[in-house]
Point group: C2
Chain length 490, copies 2
């Protein structure tokens, strides 16, 4: 199995695609740009969902569900928003099929044309703010802290499994507030939630920052983001949290009576992460042998493979395994015992390596005699023989070590390719090597555009906690308030 | 609040609609036939999802995700299936909007017409079986036991919140098997899971049966179903499980090599329940005061309302409440303490009655003195004053009693309106009174049609565990193998 994987140095992009398919995470479907998320991939997504959902609820949010369809006229109400999405919309125009008059298959029934076309939601600000209009009258109705788990559709021209697909799964938070300060605080709070999740669960280190005007969400006043760095030196935007000001409240006339009986427009945020996180997870940790999963998100953290010559041995091993499994489960560790007789241990080893199971335990005749088990770490590919007594404590600690280790490895890699660059000539050389380049920029969209045109690099973010020593723009020599992060990006 | 609710006897249908809206469960959206599921309603749906998901996984199923869109040609491949769904399809024909040449808003870009139209999935058999084709080669790849949580769209002409909406949320299981017997067993097993869930969690008694040919799912050989009875005497189909035979395998050419090296088509099932369950839940238990929720699915099982004259009293009460809450939470009981100062206790009482919270605790100055709390049951509307010592045991038992009581009440009601009817004249009188009528039917679609045309009653199911004494059809006098269940239905 593993040998069929293209290596990263050979062709990074092909390696990613091979891995997603061979590790049974997802595949392309018969529908252009839409993927099928396979059970193993979906199990990881379920873990991501469960943790995020818990974090959202702990921060006071509740879930709801809004329609899949958005009337065309709604999309048009916020000028920047429509500019951002009109060009990539799936449009429903009819509500019925009929038998073709020539008897060959089905055609769209021309009699069933909709009066107004419906857009399959690319994001839900417009349908949600049209609803909030009826829910909000007074400051007593605020804040409204609502999240939705949903599918969305953006008609992308070039798609890649998880990273950019026509349909994707995501969550979108949409909150309403009485004051600007409170809305900004909410947008920043959710950015912290995303960063915390990325680092503690995905083991993916992220930079927190704010987008330049060019890279802002269509309709936002500020877009906060977390930016991760992949092993090929390219950046990946992993989550965004938008301060929307009063733009959507104005577009949908959502006003409220404040404490002093004054009518004002409501302040808004929206924030989302998607199945794109799967791409970040895969590309941050995996290697030429396959997937490497953080224990905190692995569908199962430990797999146990028996090595036996006959039924008697298998039975003896199974007994020991039942003992170990019970101990591990009591500590909340998920375990799979693979006693499938159709496959050889070597095949299983390669399979679980490919699927990134954090720990593989193997038990054979000698282990039975000695009361031991072989423990193999996926992240370091190291093995050791360990006594069964107290193994649950050992494994519990090992899983924590793996979680820390893969985060540290990714963190160190990022540190090794993050550097200050001070001249545009140097920039043009350095950008070819990948990584995050910390540079002075004069703050204008024109300079940003020029850099993008010249080098395909974009400003990933203006760091929130970065060095704020002023300097001069590497391109124009104009004053700059702080270094910003440049990279080529997914 | 409660006084604004139409009573059931006044207008049952209006009562239902009032209740769904006033209890903050759902509302109609700006998109025809699509609803917004509000946070309180969605919280119940999340509980339903969590329990069902656990039950599916316990029976060996895994989740996955398939595309929202189905190419038009796929829908046409199974003849009966397409007949069933072609007339109610949302059809995507274009992938881009553009500015209108007259400068007024947006129009569909005629240049962005799709080569083949896409249907928003009304159900996923076709897209899933087109995918299974690549996943199944040998008996070793079987069974495939996959479930999907998703939104689906059926362009219904008349919609009602939860009961029948253009878009709804559901789960759809799609399994593939090597033998007919195994597929039939799977379809029946999932029917048992649905019945078990309906009775133990929703507290809704259901009849298990199989549909007559007229009422079968489009493309199925057999449709198993659970049928519930609402308080107005109308039946509601709450879940279906289909034995699909080899129909979809043949339509999508999904074959496998069996153990004896013979190529055969794969056997299939599909099964689903939807947000329609919310309608069954609401209509089975609720009363003229509002919602009545089973403790096993209530977003919070206990609400505590303080009754106080000053901050000092509130503080003393809050302290006691913290003690009670900790005890309850330790037993896994969910509690909300409503110390909102903007609302009076009377308002809160009415609100939680309306929202169906199983138990309401109220604590005032006298309770503080006496070490007591007032406990009010939503189902019986009875109150008693109880000592705080050991209250968690008392409440835990009370919640179990409520769960049992509302099931029993619904069961008794159903029993009271289920009766044998032996002549068609009697049938025509009895059907006006509602309930389940157990009648002999000759087994022909023609007789079934005639009864439907005459009386609007349909065969809800042929009971799986019913009396199988033979008799003669009430309409034609022809022989009949067993009584079947007739009712008017939602």
């Amino acid at each position: 199995m593993a040998k069929e994987l293209t290596t990263r140095s050979e062709n990074y992009s092909q390696w990613y695609n091979d891995l997603v398919i061979k590790a049974d995470l997802a595949e392309s479907s018969a529908v252009r740009g839409c993927m099928v998320i396979k059970p193993y991939g979906y199990a990881i997504w379920e873990k991501i969902q469960a943790e995020l959902d818990r974090m959202f609820k702990e921060t006071g949010h509740v879930n709801a569900y809004f329609p899949l369809f958005i009337p065309k006229s709604f999309l048009s109400k916020e000028a920047e928003h429509v500019d951002g999405f009109a060009k990539e919309c799936a449009v429903v125009t009819h509500h019925r099929l009929m038998a073709s008059p020539d008897g060959k298959g089905l055609i769209v029934d021309p009699e069933a044309k909709l009066e107004e076309e419906l857009i399959v939601r690319p994001t839900s600000e417009t349908i949600i703010w049209s609803t909030y209009k009826n829910w909000i009258q007074s400051y007593r109705d605020l804040p409204l802290l609502i999240n939705q788990w949903a599918n969305v559709v953006r008609w992308e021209m070039r798609t890649r499994l998880f990273l950019r697909t026509t349909e994707f799964l995501w969550q979108e938070g949409h909150t309403a507030h009485a004051t600007e300060a409170e809305a900004v605080e909410e947008a920043r709070k959710m950015l912290e939630v995303y960063a915390d999740f990325a680092e503690r669960f995905m083991a993916v280190p992220v930079l927190k920052g704010v987008k330049s005007a060019n890279e802002r969400f269509a309709g936002a006043l500020d877009t906060y983001c977390i930016e991760a760095l992949m092993q090929d030196g390219k950046a990946l935007q992993a989550g965004t949290s938008h301060f929307l000001g009063q733009n959507f409240a104005k577009a949908f006339e959502v006003t409220f009576m404040d404490k002093s009986n004054k009518l004002d427009y409501v302040w808004a945020t929206s924030w989302g992460v998607s199945t794109r996180l799967m791409g970040a997870l895969i590309m941050t940790h995996s290697d030429d042998h396959g997937l490497v999963l953080p224990p905190n998100l692995a569908p199962f953290q430990v797999v146990i493979v028996p090595i036996y010559k006959n039924d008697e041995q298998l039975e003896a091993i199974s007994e020991k395994v039942a003992y170990i499994t019970a101990k591990l489960k009591a500590l909340g560790i998920s375990v799979k015992f693979d006693n499938n007789d159709n496959k050889k241990p070597g095949w299983k080893f390669a399979e679980y390596e490919l699927k990134g199971v954090p720990l593989r335990l193997a038990m054979g005749a000698r282990d039975l005699e000695n009361g031991t088990v072989e423990v193999a770490r996926r992240d370091t590919m190291t093995k050791e023989t360990v006594s069964i007594e107290g193994i649950e404590i050992y494994i519990d600690q090992l899983l924590k070590d793996i979680q820390t280790n893969i985060f540290q490895k990714a963190y160190d890699y990022r540190a090794s390719v993050t550097r200050d660059v001070n001249s545009y000539d140097e920039f043009k050389v350095e950008i070819e090597k990948g990584g995050f380049l910390m540079c002075y920029w004069d703050g204008t969209p024109e300079t940003e555009e020029k850099i993008k045109d010249d080098t395909k690099a974009t400003i990933r973010c203006i760091p929130l906690n970065g060095d704020i020593t002023p300097g001069v723009c590497m391109v124009t020599g104009k004053p700059s308030t702080q270094r910003v992060v440049f990279a080529r990006a997914y």
